[in-house]
Protein backbone atom coordinates (compact mmCIF):
# COMPACT_ATOMS: atom_id res chain seq x y z
CA UNK A 1 0.00 0.00 0.00
CA UNK A 2 2.72 2.49 -0.82
CA UNK A 3 1.07 5.88 -1.40
CA UNK A 4 -1.64 5.15 -3.96
CA UNK A 5 -3.60 8.17 -5.08
CA UNK A 6 -1.32 10.52 -3.16
CA UNK A 7 -0.78 13.10 -5.79
CA UNK A 8 -4.42 14.06 -5.85
CA UNK A 9 -4.01 16.82 -3.29
CA UNK A 10 -1.33 19.42 -3.94
CA UNK A 11 0.93 20.93 -1.29
CA UNK A 12 -1.54 23.31 0.32
CA UNK A 13 0.62 26.38 -0.07
CA UNK A 14 -2.36 28.46 -0.90
CA UNK A 15 -3.94 27.48 2.40
CA UNK A 16 -3.76 29.84 5.35
CA UNK A 17 -0.41 29.74 7.18
CA UNK A 18 -1.15 29.17 10.85
CA UNK A 19 2.30 29.55 12.24
CA UNK A 20 5.71 30.07 10.79
CA UNK A 21 9.26 29.96 12.03
CA UNK A 22 11.94 31.77 10.07
CA UNK A 23 15.64 31.32 10.68
CA UNK A 24 15.08 30.30 14.28
CA UNK A 25 18.03 29.47 16.53
CA UNK A 26 18.37 28.40 20.16
CA UNK A 27 21.25 27.64 22.51
CA UNK A 28 21.20 26.00 25.92
CA UNK A 29 24.21 27.59 27.56
CA UNK A 30 27.04 26.45 25.37
CA UNK A 31 25.04 23.77 23.57
CA UNK A 32 23.75 25.02 20.24
CA UNK A 33 20.56 23.06 19.76
CA UNK A 34 19.04 24.87 16.78
CA UNK A 35 20.36 27.18 14.12
CA UNK A 36 18.58 28.85 11.24
CA UNK A 37 15.58 26.59 11.06
CA UNK A 38 12.45 27.53 9.15
CA UNK A 39 9.11 25.85 9.21
CA UNK A 40 5.59 26.72 8.15
CA UNK A 41 2.41 25.08 9.34
CA UNK A 42 -0.67 25.54 7.20
CA UNK A 43 -4.27 24.96 8.04
CA UNK A 44 -5.15 21.49 6.81
CA UNK A 45 -1.51 20.54 6.41
CA UNK A 46 0.71 18.09 8.18
CA UNK A 47 4.28 19.19 8.59
CA UNK A 48 6.67 16.44 9.57
CA UNK A 49 9.95 17.13 11.33
CA UNK A 50 12.42 14.30 11.02
CA UNK A 51 15.91 13.84 12.28
CA UNK A 52 18.40 11.87 14.26
CA UNK A 53 18.51 11.73 18.05
CA UNK A 54 19.59 15.05 19.43
CA UNK A 55 18.95 16.82 16.14
CA UNK A 56 16.88 19.48 17.86
CA UNK A 57 13.35 18.38 17.07
CA UNK A 58 12.03 18.64 20.60
CA UNK A 59 13.70 21.99 21.01
CA UNK A 60 11.81 23.22 17.97
CA UNK A 61 8.58 21.92 19.44
CA UNK A 62 9.26 23.61 22.73
CA UNK A 63 9.73 26.92 21.01
CA UNK A 64 6.47 26.50 19.13
CA UNK A 65 4.69 25.56 22.35
CA UNK A 66 6.06 28.51 24.29
CA UNK A 67 8.05 26.38 26.73
CA UNK A 68 11.33 27.85 25.59
CA UNK A 69 12.10 31.01 23.70
CA UNK A 70 14.10 31.30 20.52
CA UNK A 71 17.33 33.29 20.60
CA UNK A 72 17.34 34.16 16.92
CA UNK A 73 14.91 34.40 14.07
CA UNK A 74 11.21 35.13 13.89
CA UNK A 75 8.18 33.24 15.07
CA UNK A 76 4.85 34.35 13.64
CA UNK A 77 1.42 33.08 14.47
CA UNK A 78 -1.41 34.01 12.12
CA UNK A 79 0.88 36.54 10.47
CA UNK A 80 1.87 38.51 13.59
CA UNK A 81 5.27 38.08 15.19
CA UNK A 82 5.14 36.65 18.66
CA UNK A 83 7.52 35.82 21.46
CA UNK A 84 5.73 33.35 23.68
CA UNK A 85 6.82 33.55 27.27
CA UNK A 86 4.59 30.82 28.58
CA UNK A 87 2.82 27.74 27.25
CA UNK A 88 -0.42 29.33 28.34
CA UNK A 89 -0.12 31.82 25.51
CA UNK A 90 0.30 29.09 22.95
CA UNK A 91 -2.67 27.23 24.37
CA UNK A 92 -4.77 30.36 24.25
CA UNK A 93 -3.86 30.70 20.59
CA UNK A 94 -5.21 27.21 20.01
CA UNK A 95 -1.91 25.36 19.82
CA UNK A 96 -2.02 22.08 21.75
CA UNK A 97 1.16 20.11 22.22
CA UNK A 98 2.15 16.61 23.20
CA UNK A 99 5.65 16.80 24.56
CA UNK A 100 8.07 13.94 24.41
CA UNK A 101 8.23 13.78 28.19
CA UNK A 102 4.45 14.00 28.25
CA UNK A 103 3.96 16.73 30.87
CA UNK A 104 1.78 14.80 33.27
CA UNK A 105 1.78 15.12 37.05
CA UNK A 106 2.42 11.58 38.31
CA UNK A 107 0.56 11.75 41.61
CA UNK A 108 -2.61 13.27 40.19
CA UNK A 109 -5.58 11.18 39.04
CA UNK A 110 -5.91 10.53 35.34
CA UNK A 111 -8.95 12.74 34.88
CA UNK A 112 -7.38 15.66 36.71
CA UNK A 113 -4.35 15.38 34.47
CA UNK A 114 -6.53 15.20 31.41
CA UNK A 115 -8.22 18.49 32.19
CA UNK A 116 -5.26 20.20 33.83
CA UNK A 117 -5.16 23.83 32.78
CA UNK A 118 -8.55 23.59 31.06
CA UNK A 119 -10.85 22.43 33.83
CA UNK A 120 -14.58 22.38 33.38
CA UNK A 121 -15.98 24.94 35.79
CA UNK A 122 -13.98 27.45 37.71
CA UNK A 123 -15.34 27.29 41.23
CA UNK A 124 -17.36 24.16 40.86
CA UNK A 125 -15.63 21.46 38.89
CA UNK A 126 -17.99 19.29 36.94
CA UNK A 127 -16.29 16.16 38.17
CA UNK A 128 -18.67 13.50 36.82
CA UNK A 129 -18.42 14.96 33.36
CA UNK A 130 -14.67 15.33 33.51
CA UNK A 131 -14.41 11.68 34.51
CA UNK A 132 -16.73 10.57 31.75
CA UNK A 133 -14.97 12.61 29.07
CA UNK A 134 -11.62 11.22 30.11
CA UNK A 135 -12.85 7.67 30.08
CA UNK A 136 -14.42 8.10 26.66
CA UNK A 137 -11.42 9.79 25.11
CA UNK A 138 -9.16 6.99 26.32
CA UNK A 139 -11.55 4.28 25.25
CA UNK A 140 -11.61 5.71 21.76
CA UNK A 141 -7.85 5.26 21.65
CA UNK A 142 -8.21 1.65 22.68
CA UNK A 143 -7.28 2.16 26.35
CA UNK A 144 -9.87 0.77 28.71
CA UNK A 145 -9.41 2.17 32.20
CA UNK A 146 -12.01 1.10 34.71
CA UNK A 147 -10.73 3.65 37.21
CA UNK A 148 -9.78 7.12 35.96
CA UNK A 149 -9.10 8.09 39.57
CA UNK A 150 -5.83 6.21 39.58
CA UNK A 151 -2.73 8.38 39.83
CA UNK A 152 -1.43 8.71 36.30
CA UNK A 153 1.99 7.60 37.54
CA UNK A 154 0.66 4.07 37.92
CA UNK A 155 -0.34 3.78 34.26
CA UNK A 156 1.87 1.95 31.80
CA UNK A 157 4.09 4.05 29.53
CA UNK A 158 1.78 3.68 26.55
CA UNK A 159 -1.31 4.44 28.58
CA UNK A 160 0.27 7.66 29.79
CA UNK A 161 1.17 8.63 26.27
CA UNK A 162 -2.41 8.00 25.20
CA UNK A 163 -3.69 10.33 27.91
CA UNK A 164 -1.37 13.09 26.69
CA UNK A 165 -2.40 12.62 23.07
CA UNK A 166 -6.10 12.37 23.86
CA UNK A 167 -5.80 15.58 25.85
CA UNK A 168 -4.13 17.47 23.03
CA UNK A 169 -6.64 16.19 20.49
CA UNK A 170 -9.47 17.19 22.78
CA UNK A 171 -8.22 20.72 23.40
CA UNK A 172 -6.31 21.53 20.21
CA UNK A 173 -8.28 24.23 18.45
CA UNK A 174 -6.07 25.38 15.59
CA UNK A 175 -2.85 23.47 15.60
CA UNK A 176 -1.71 20.14 16.97
CA UNK A 177 1.97 19.65 17.77
CA UNK A 178 3.01 16.06 18.41
CA UNK A 179 6.50 15.07 19.55
CA UNK A 180 7.00 11.36 18.87
CA UNK A 181 3.43 10.53 19.79
CA UNK A 182 3.62 6.88 18.82
CA UNK A 183 6.93 6.09 20.51
CA UNK A 184 5.47 4.01 23.32
CA UNK A 185 2.34 2.89 21.54
CA UNK A 186 1.29 -0.51 20.33
CA UNK A 187 0.28 -1.31 16.79
CA UNK A 188 -3.37 -0.61 17.35
CA UNK A 189 -2.91 2.64 19.26
CA UNK A 190 -0.42 3.92 16.68
CA UNK A 191 -3.02 3.37 14.02
CA UNK A 192 -5.56 5.32 16.04
CA UNK A 193 -3.15 8.22 16.50
CA UNK A 194 -2.43 8.42 12.80
CA UNK A 195 -6.15 8.33 12.19
CA UNK A 196 -6.55 11.23 14.61
CA UNK A 197 -3.84 13.17 12.85
CA UNK A 198 -5.59 12.69 9.55
CA UNK A 199 -8.89 13.66 11.10
CA UNK A 200 -7.34 16.84 12.48
CA UNK A 201 -6.11 17.76 9.02
CA UNK A 202 -9.49 17.06 7.59
CA UNK A 203 -10.98 19.41 10.18
CA UNK A 204 -8.66 22.16 8.99
CA UNK A 205 -6.13 22.09 11.80
CA UNK A 206 -2.44 22.42 11.20
CA UNK A 207 -0.33 19.56 12.49
CA UNK A 208 3.36 19.33 13.33
CA UNK A 209 4.40 15.70 13.65
CA UNK A 210 7.72 14.45 14.87
CA UNK A 211 8.58 10.84 14.40
CA UNK A 212 11.48 8.50 13.88
CA UNK A 213 9.40 6.32 11.64
CA UNK A 214 9.69 7.47 8.01
CA UNK A 215 6.73 5.34 7.06
CA UNK A 216 4.44 6.98 9.55
CA UNK A 217 5.70 10.32 8.33
CA UNK A 218 5.30 9.55 4.65
CA UNK A 219 1.87 8.10 5.21
CA UNK A 220 0.35 11.33 6.46
CA UNK A 221 2.86 14.13 5.88
CA UNK A 222 2.45 16.98 3.41
CA UNK A 223 5.82 18.54 4.03
CA UNK A 224 9.04 17.12 5.42
CA UNK A 225 11.66 19.10 7.27
CA UNK A 226 14.88 17.27 7.97
CA UNK A 227 17.09 18.34 10.86
CA UNK A 228 20.68 17.36 11.39
CA UNK A 229 22.62 18.56 14.42
CA UNK A 230 20.38 21.55 14.82
CA UNK A 231 20.47 22.67 11.19
CA UNK A 232 18.01 22.06 8.40
CA UNK A 233 19.39 19.46 6.06
CA UNK A 234 16.37 19.42 3.81
CA UNK A 235 12.85 20.73 3.39
CA UNK A 236 10.68 18.96 0.87
CA UNK A 237 7.07 19.09 -0.08
CA UNK A 238 5.58 15.64 -0.42
CA UNK A 239 5.66 15.82 -4.20
CA UNK A 240 9.40 16.22 -4.33
CA UNK A 241 10.53 13.24 -2.34
CA UNK A 242 9.96 9.51 -2.26
CA UNK A 243 9.82 7.25 0.74
CA UNK A 244 13.17 5.77 -0.21
CA UNK A 245 14.88 9.13 -0.31
CA UNK A 246 13.28 10.12 2.95
CA UNK A 247 14.43 6.97 4.68
CA UNK A 248 17.95 7.34 3.41
CA UNK A 249 18.15 10.92 4.51
CA UNK A 250 16.84 10.07 7.96
CA UNK A 251 19.29 7.25 8.45
CA UNK A 252 22.20 9.46 7.56
CA UNK A 253 22.85 8.20 4.05
CA UNK A 254 26.24 6.68 3.57
CA UNK A 255 26.81 5.92 7.23
CA UNK A 256 23.93 3.53 7.12
CA UNK A 257 25.30 1.67 4.16
CA UNK A 258 28.43 1.02 6.12
CA UNK A 259 26.49 -0.21 9.10
CA UNK A 260 24.30 -2.63 7.21
CA UNK A 261 27.32 -3.95 5.45
CA UNK A 262 29.03 -4.60 8.73
CA UNK A 263 26.00 -6.35 10.13
CA UNK A 264 25.54 -8.51 7.08
CA UNK A 265 29.10 -9.63 7.33
CA UNK A 266 29.24 -10.34 11.06
CA UNK A 267 25.94 -11.90 11.82
CA UNK A 268 23.60 -13.20 9.20
CA UNK A 269 20.44 -12.92 11.27
CA UNK A 270 20.59 -9.32 12.34
CA UNK A 271 19.55 -6.58 10.07
CA UNK A 272 19.71 -2.90 10.78
CA UNK A 273 17.19 -2.47 8.03
CA UNK A 274 14.67 -3.58 10.58
CA UNK A 275 14.92 -0.14 11.98
CA UNK A 276 13.15 1.13 8.95
CA UNK A 277 9.62 0.19 8.35
CA UNK A 278 7.10 -0.06 5.63
CA UNK A 279 3.35 -0.03 5.71
CA UNK A 280 3.18 -2.17 2.62
CA UNK A 281 2.62 -5.49 4.25
CA UNK A 282 -0.77 -5.29 5.72
CA UNK A 283 -2.26 -8.41 7.18
CA UNK A 284 -5.33 -9.51 5.31
CA UNK A 285 -8.01 -8.98 7.91
Amino acid sequence: MTPPEREERPEPSEARTLLELTGVGKSYGSVRALADVSLAVRAGGISCVLGDNGAGKSTLIKIIAGLHQHDEGRYTIGGGEVRLTSPRQALDLGIATVHQDLAVVPLMPVWRNFFLGAELGRFRLDIPRMRAVTRDALARMGIELDDVDRPIGTLSGGQRQCVAIARAVHFGAKALVLDEPTAALGVKQSGVVLKYVAAARAAGLGVVLITHNPHHAYLVGDHFTLLKRGRMSGSHPRAEITLEQLTTEMAGGSELAELSHELAGGEARTDPGGARTDPKERPSP
Binding site: S86, D92, V104, V105, P106
Partner: protein
Amino acid sequence: MLAAVAVFLFFCVAASSFLRASSIGTVLYAASTIGIMAVPVALLMIGGEFDLSAGVLVTTAALTSSMVSYRLTAVTWVGVLVSLAVALAIGGFNGWVLGRTRLPSFIVTLGTFLMLTGANLGVTKLVSGTVSTKPIGDMQGFASCHWLFASEFTVGGLTVKATVWWWLGLVGLGSWVLLRTRFGNWIFAVGGDPAAARAVGVPVARTKTCLYLGVGFCAWVLGQHLLFSFDTVQSGEGVGNELIYIVAAVIGGCLITGGYGSVAGSALGALIFGMTSKGIVYAQWDPDWFKFFLGAMLLLAALLNSWVKRRAERGPAR
Protein backbone atom coordinates in the same frame (compact mmCIF):
# COMPACT_ATOMS: atom_id res chain seq x y z
CA MET B 1 -8.03 9.23 60.91
CA LEU B 2 -7.55 6.03 62.82
CA ALA B 3 -4.50 7.51 64.50
CA ALA B 4 -6.56 10.42 65.83
CA VAL B 5 -9.14 8.02 67.22
CA ALA B 6 -6.42 5.86 68.71
CA VAL B 7 -4.78 8.82 70.42
CA PHE B 8 -8.15 9.93 71.71
CA LEU B 9 -9.02 6.53 73.11
CA PHE B 10 -5.56 6.14 74.56
CA PHE B 11 -5.83 9.33 76.58
CA CYS B 12 -9.41 8.56 77.58
CA VAL B 13 -7.98 5.52 79.30
CA ALA B 14 -4.72 7.06 80.49
CA ALA B 15 -6.18 10.28 81.85
CA SER B 16 -9.41 10.19 83.78
CA SER B 17 -10.03 13.90 83.34
CA PHE B 18 -9.49 13.84 79.56
CA LEU B 19 -13.06 13.02 78.65
CA ARG B 20 -14.74 15.86 80.57
CA ALA B 21 -16.52 18.48 78.50
CA SER B 22 -14.28 21.23 79.82
CA SER B 23 -11.17 19.26 78.94
CA ILE B 24 -12.39 18.60 75.45
CA GLY B 25 -12.98 22.33 75.09
CA THR B 26 -9.38 23.01 76.08
CA VAL B 27 -8.00 20.41 73.71
CA LEU B 28 -10.13 21.71 70.88
CA TYR B 29 -8.88 25.21 71.54
CA ALA B 30 -5.26 24.08 71.48
CA ALA B 31 -5.89 22.15 68.27
CA SER B 32 -7.68 25.07 66.65
CA THR B 33 -4.83 27.54 67.21
CA ILE B 34 -2.58 25.12 65.36
CA GLY B 35 -5.21 24.02 62.89
CA ILE B 36 -6.11 27.48 61.62
CA MET B 37 -2.58 27.88 60.31
CA ALA B 38 -2.17 24.25 59.34
CA VAL B 39 -4.81 24.72 56.63
CA PRO B 40 -2.90 27.22 54.47
CA VAL B 41 0.43 25.64 55.36
CA ALA B 42 -0.88 22.29 54.15
CA LEU B 43 -2.15 23.84 50.92
CA LEU B 44 1.20 25.51 50.44
CA MET B 45 2.99 22.26 51.05
CA ILE B 46 0.78 20.44 48.55
CA GLY B 47 1.75 23.26 46.20
CA GLY B 48 5.38 22.30 46.80
CA GLU B 49 6.54 25.20 48.96
CA PHE B 50 7.37 26.03 52.55
CA ASP B 51 6.63 29.01 54.69
CA LEU B 52 8.96 29.47 57.61
CA SER B 53 7.55 32.91 58.29
CA ALA B 54 4.06 31.64 59.12
CA GLY B 55 4.67 31.62 62.88
CA VAL B 56 5.92 35.17 63.28
CA LEU B 57 3.53 36.47 60.67
CA VAL B 58 0.75 35.73 63.15
CA THR B 59 2.49 37.96 65.67
CA THR B 60 3.07 40.62 63.07
CA ALA B 61 -0.63 40.66 62.27
CA ALA B 62 -1.52 40.99 65.94
CA LEU B 63 1.07 43.71 66.56
CA THR B 64 0.05 45.72 63.53
CA SER B 65 -3.57 45.64 64.47
CA SER B 66 -2.86 46.64 68.04
CA MET B 67 -0.39 49.39 67.29
CA VAL B 68 -2.38 50.94 64.45
CA SER B 69 -5.49 51.12 66.58
CA TYR B 70 -3.57 52.50 69.49
CA ARG B 71 -1.53 55.07 67.64
CA LEU B 72 -4.45 56.38 65.66
CA THR B 73 -6.72 56.12 68.67
CA ALA B 74 -9.16 54.71 66.16
CA VAL B 75 -11.90 52.13 66.37
CA THR B 76 -10.15 48.76 66.63
CA TRP B 77 -11.66 47.75 63.32
CA VAL B 78 -9.30 50.12 61.59
CA GLY B 79 -6.37 48.26 63.02
CA VAL B 80 -7.93 44.95 62.11
CA LEU B 81 -8.32 45.95 58.49
CA VAL B 82 -4.87 47.53 58.19
CA SER B 83 -3.48 44.37 59.71
CA LEU B 84 -5.26 42.28 57.08
CA ALA B 85 -3.70 44.38 54.37
CA VAL B 86 -0.26 44.02 55.93
CA ALA B 87 -0.56 40.27 56.39
CA LEU B 88 -1.69 39.81 52.81
CA ALA B 89 1.08 42.09 51.59
CA ILE B 90 3.71 40.02 53.38
CA GLY B 91 2.25 36.81 52.02
CA GLY B 92 2.18 38.35 48.59
CA PHE B 93 5.75 39.53 49.00
CA ASN B 94 6.87 35.98 49.76
CA GLY B 95 5.14 34.69 46.67
CA TRP B 96 6.40 37.50 44.50
CA VAL B 97 10.04 37.13 45.54
CA LEU B 98 9.75 33.39 45.02
CA GLY B 99 8.39 33.86 41.53
CA ARG B 100 10.89 36.52 40.57
CA THR B 101 14.08 35.08 41.96
CA ARG B 102 13.39 31.33 41.71
CA LEU B 103 15.23 30.94 45.00
CA PRO B 104 14.02 27.98 47.06
CA SER B 105 11.10 28.98 49.26
CA PHE B 106 13.08 27.78 52.25
CA ILE B 107 15.55 30.63 51.79
CA VAL B 108 13.01 33.25 50.84
CA THR B 109 10.70 32.61 53.75
CA LEU B 110 13.63 32.21 56.08
CA GLY B 111 14.61 35.71 55.09
CA THR B 112 11.08 36.94 55.71
CA PHE B 113 10.99 35.03 58.97
CA LEU B 114 14.13 36.72 60.27
CA MET B 115 13.13 40.10 58.97
CA LEU B 116 9.69 39.87 60.55
CA THR B 117 11.14 38.66 63.83
CA GLY B 118 13.43 41.67 63.83
CA ALA B 119 10.80 44.10 62.66
CA ASN B 120 8.27 42.88 65.21
CA LEU B 121 10.67 43.72 67.98
CA GLY B 122 12.14 46.84 66.42
CA VAL B 123 8.87 48.45 65.44
CA THR B 124 7.18 47.59 68.70
CA LYS B 125 9.98 49.18 70.67
CA LEU B 126 9.94 52.17 68.41
CA VAL B 127 6.23 52.62 68.76
CA SER B 128 5.50 51.49 72.30
CA GLY B 129 8.88 51.94 73.91
CA THR B 130 8.61 48.41 75.33
CA VAL B 131 8.62 44.92 73.86
CA SER B 132 4.89 44.46 74.17
CA THR B 133 2.02 46.54 72.94
CA LYS B 134 -0.18 48.70 75.12
CA PRO B 135 -3.48 47.17 76.21
CA ILE B 136 -6.34 48.13 73.93
CA GLY B 137 -9.09 46.52 75.95
CA ASP B 138 -10.74 49.85 76.66
CA MET B 139 -10.90 51.01 73.05
CA GLN B 140 -13.98 51.39 70.92
CA GLY B 141 -14.79 48.38 68.80
CA PHE B 142 -12.88 46.04 71.05
CA ALA B 143 -16.03 44.30 72.17
CA SER B 144 -17.22 43.49 68.66
CA CYS B 145 -13.76 42.39 67.54
CA HIS B 146 -13.50 40.29 70.64
CA TRP B 147 -16.79 38.68 69.82
CA LEU B 148 -15.64 37.85 66.31
CA PHE B 149 -12.18 36.55 67.09
CA ALA B 150 -12.04 35.55 70.71
CA SER B 151 -15.49 34.93 72.09
CA GLU B 152 -16.50 31.63 73.51
CA PHE B 153 -19.79 30.00 74.12
CA THR B 154 -20.99 27.02 75.93
CA VAL B 155 -23.24 24.27 74.68
CA GLY B 156 -24.09 21.59 77.16
CA GLY B 157 -21.00 22.15 79.25
CA LEU B 158 -18.67 22.22 76.28
CA THR B 159 -17.05 25.62 75.94
CA VAL B 160 -16.21 26.30 72.33
CA LYS B 161 -13.95 29.20 71.45
CA ALA B 162 -14.31 31.31 68.35
CA THR B 163 -11.10 29.87 66.96
CA VAL B 164 -12.74 26.48 66.70
CA TRP B 165 -15.41 27.88 64.44
CA TRP B 166 -12.82 29.70 62.35
CA TRP B 167 -10.88 26.49 62.14
CA LEU B 168 -13.85 24.45 60.99
CA GLY B 169 -14.75 27.11 58.49
CA LEU B 170 -11.26 27.32 57.09
CA VAL B 171 -10.94 23.55 56.84
CA GLY B 172 -14.21 23.41 54.93
CA LEU B 173 -13.18 26.25 52.68
CA GLY B 174 -9.72 24.81 52.11
CA SER B 175 -11.03 21.37 51.30
CA TRP B 176 -13.51 22.76 48.88
CA VAL B 177 -10.90 24.88 47.14
CA LEU B 178 -8.50 21.99 46.93
CA LEU B 179 -10.89 19.34 45.69
CA ARG B 180 -13.65 21.13 43.90
CA THR B 181 -12.17 24.11 42.13
CA ARG B 182 -9.90 24.70 39.21
CA PHE B 183 -7.45 26.42 41.51
CA GLY B 184 -7.27 23.28 43.65
CA ASN B 185 -6.31 21.27 40.61
CA TRP B 186 -3.52 23.74 39.97
CA ILE B 187 -2.27 23.43 43.54
CA PHE B 188 -1.77 19.71 43.12
CA ALA B 189 -0.12 20.27 39.76
CA VAL B 190 2.40 22.94 40.75
CA GLY B 191 3.41 20.82 43.72
CA GLY B 192 3.54 17.53 41.88
CA ASP B 193 5.48 18.63 38.82
CA PRO B 194 5.90 22.36 38.20
CA ALA B 195 7.47 21.81 34.78
CA ALA B 196 4.55 19.69 33.60
CA ALA B 197 2.08 22.12 35.11
CA ARG B 198 3.67 24.99 33.25
CA ALA B 199 3.66 23.01 30.03
CA VAL B 200 -0.10 22.52 30.13
CA GLY B 201 -0.71 26.17 30.86
CA VAL B 202 -1.05 26.38 34.62
CA PRO B 203 0.18 29.77 35.89
CA VAL B 204 2.68 28.36 38.36
CA ALA B 205 3.93 31.59 39.92
CA ARG B 206 0.44 33.01 40.30
CA THR B 207 -0.84 29.84 41.95
CA LYS B 208 1.97 29.90 44.46
CA THR B 209 1.46 33.57 45.22
CA CYS B 210 -2.20 32.88 45.93
CA LEU B 211 -1.18 30.15 48.35
CA TYR B 212 1.06 32.60 50.19
CA LEU B 213 -1.81 35.05 50.32
CA GLY B 214 -3.82 32.29 51.97
CA VAL B 215 -1.13 31.95 54.61
CA GLY B 216 -1.30 35.69 55.13
CA PHE B 217 -5.05 35.59 55.57
CA CYS B 218 -5.05 32.80 58.12
CA ALA B 219 -2.16 34.39 60.00
CA TRP B 220 -4.28 37.48 60.20
CA VAL B 221 -7.20 35.52 61.67
CA LEU B 222 -5.04 33.89 64.31
CA GLY B 223 -3.23 37.14 64.99
CA GLN B 224 -6.49 38.92 65.70
CA HIS B 225 -7.47 36.13 68.02
CA LEU B 226 -4.19 36.55 69.84
CA LEU B 227 -4.72 40.26 70.19
CA PHE B 228 -8.34 40.24 71.20
CA SER B 229 -8.07 37.42 73.66
CA PHE B 230 -4.85 38.61 75.34
CA ASP B 231 -5.40 42.34 74.95
CA THR B 232 -1.65 42.99 74.58
CA VAL B 233 0.83 41.26 72.30
CA GLN B 234 4.41 40.26 73.10
CA SER B 235 6.64 41.08 70.16
CA GLY B 236 8.77 37.96 70.58
CA GLU B 237 5.91 35.54 70.13
CA GLY B 238 5.38 32.99 67.46
CA VAL B 239 8.95 31.96 66.74
CA GLY B 240 9.06 28.21 66.22
CA ASN B 241 5.36 27.78 65.61
CA GLU B 242 5.90 27.55 61.87
CA LEU B 243 7.39 24.13 62.47
CA ILE B 244 4.38 23.01 64.44
CA TYR B 245 2.12 23.98 61.56
CA ILE B 246 4.29 22.03 59.16
CA VAL B 247 4.28 19.10 61.55
CA ALA B 248 0.48 19.11 61.67
CA ALA B 249 0.34 19.13 57.89
CA VAL B 250 2.87 16.33 57.57
CA ILE B 251 1.24 14.15 60.21
CA GLY B 252 -1.95 14.73 58.28
CA GLY B 253 -0.35 13.14 55.24
CA CYS B 254 1.02 16.03 53.21
CA LEU B 255 4.09 15.13 51.22
CA ILE B 256 6.98 17.38 52.15
CA THR B 257 8.04 17.43 48.49
CA GLY B 258 4.62 18.57 47.36
CA GLY B 259 1.86 17.26 45.15
CA TYR B 260 0.02 15.20 47.67
CA GLY B 261 -2.02 15.77 50.81
CA SER B 262 -5.33 17.02 52.08
CA VAL B 263 -6.75 19.82 54.17
CA ALA B 264 -8.81 17.47 56.30
CA GLY B 265 -5.60 15.61 56.99
CA SER B 266 -3.99 18.76 58.30
CA ALA B 267 -6.94 19.19 60.63
CA LEU B 268 -6.46 15.67 61.91
CA GLY B 269 -2.78 16.41 62.29
CA ALA B 270 -3.54 19.49 64.37
CA LEU B 271 -5.98 17.47 66.42
CA ILE B 272 -3.46 14.72 67.04
CA PHE B 273 -0.86 17.27 68.03
CA GLY B 274 -3.28 19.12 70.29
CA MET B 275 -4.61 15.95 71.90
CA THR B 276 -1.17 14.54 72.47
CA SER B 277 0.40 17.65 73.94
CA LYS B 278 -2.54 18.32 76.22
CA GLY B 279 -3.27 14.66 76.89
CA ILE B 280 0.17 14.26 78.42
CA VAL B 281 -0.68 17.08 80.79
CA TYR B 282 -4.03 15.52 81.68
CA ALA B 283 -2.37 12.19 82.23
CA GLN B 284 -0.01 13.98 84.63
CA TRP B 285 3.07 12.21 83.36
CA ASP B 286 6.43 13.40 84.60
CA PRO B 287 6.72 16.91 83.10
CA ASP B 288 10.49 16.58 82.74
CA TRP B 289 9.85 13.96 80.08
CA PHE B 290 7.04 15.85 78.40
CA LYS B 291 8.80 16.31 75.09
CA PHE B 292 9.97 12.75 75.09
CA PHE B 293 6.44 11.48 75.37
CA LEU B 294 5.27 13.97 72.79
CA GLY B 295 7.87 12.80 70.29
CA ALA B 296 7.16 9.15 70.91
CA MET B 297 3.40 9.60 70.60
CA LEU B 298 3.69 11.57 67.38
CA LEU B 299 5.96 8.97 65.88
CA LEU B 300 3.57 6.20 66.86
CA ALA B 301 0.59 8.08 65.47
CA ALA B 302 2.39 8.66 62.17
CA LEU B 303 3.39 5.01 62.04
CA LEU B 304 -0.16 3.87 62.65
CA ASN B 305 -1.41 6.19 59.95
CA SER B 306 1.03 4.98 57.34
CA TRP B 307 0.41 1.38 58.28
CA VAL B 308 -3.33 1.75 57.88
CA LYS B 309 -2.83 3.52 54.57
CA ARG B 310 -0.58 0.83 53.23
CA ARG B 311 -3.01 -1.89 54.25
CA ALA B 312 -5.83 -0.02 52.60
CA GLU B 313 -3.87 0.40 49.40
CA ARG B 314 -3.03 -3.24 49.22
CA GLY B 315 -6.75 -3.81 48.88
CA PRO B 316 -9.28 -5.92 50.68
CA ALA B 317 -8.40 -8.98 48.62
CA ARG B 318 -5.29 -9.69 50.60
